[in-house]
């Protein structure tokens, strides 16, 4: 079980969670990035402007 960065709510994650995955906080809906899967570490996912690159 991990804590949301924004509202501290519990964030349930599947056992198959991978580093780099994005999950939404069930309480406040903030987009969270799984910065580390073992030990579990969450961070706010970077803002996303529309897309670029070739």
């Amino acid at each position: 079980m991990a804590k949301c960065i924004e509202c501290d709510a519990d964030v349930k994650l599947g056992s198959d969670v991978e580093t780099g995955e994005i999950v939404d906080c069930p309480e406040c809906g903030t987009e969270l990035e799984v910065v580390n899967s073992d030990p579990l570490e969450l961070a706010r996912a970077p803002e996303e402007e529309e897309d670029w690159g070739e």
Partner: protein, 268 residues
Amino acid sequence: MIVIKVGGSRGINYDRVCADLSGLYQRGEKFVLVHGGSYETNLLSEKLGKPPRFVTSASGYESRFTDRETLEIFSMIYCGKMNTAIVEKLQALGVKAIGLSGVDGRLLEGVRKASVKIIENGKRRILHGDYTGKVERVNTELIHLLAGAGYVLVVSPPAISFEGEAINVDGDRAAAKIAEALKADKLIILSNVPGLLRDVADESSLVPHIIPSQLDSYMEIALGRMKKKIMAAGEALAAGVGEVVLADARIEQPILRAVAGQGTVIKA
């Protein structure tokens, strides 16, 4: 002034493209060429044991995940093989061509987006270490300096970030930015399709003419890379470019026909 973007996908005949450009040059027409290289980049990536990784963003936008090693392979094809060969062909046809990438003299400068949100195997993920970005500033002084001395510019990605890192950018949208910066009369985007097709499987279902105000409504029938071309066309028109033509690079005299309006013409 015409900005001409020719793609790098399979089946595009650069001998024909360069023969047409030489015709424009002899007629005293001012133009800038922007070229691609994606197909050959994929081939080289495979050969070097680092197959290309295409990722799709949440909004369905496909792009090449460009880490540092991919960026080097990208430069080897765009700046090395393609740019040098195109300039060589034009020089042999008597055109005073000069090849530049967006890194040279910060010709194409923009913002790097170091991480990208993608959907892969149904999971939303963030990839870091991505050297992609968007062109925000064009060094028009450099273009006018060289064009003023009679040189024809042959431009290729990558661009350069404000911090000074090479970044992979979409060639169609970079061409739109150049057209905007030069207040070009026309932006021509040539690829391996006749233009915007109602039915991708039917090459005769070409949409011949679109009025800029209706452009967004055509976004639905545009698939894959064509989406980006429509996006690029919209940006160019909104910034004052007179006309955008989406045309076929594989046919005889591809550029002369596109300049004459053969393809999808987007114009008021």
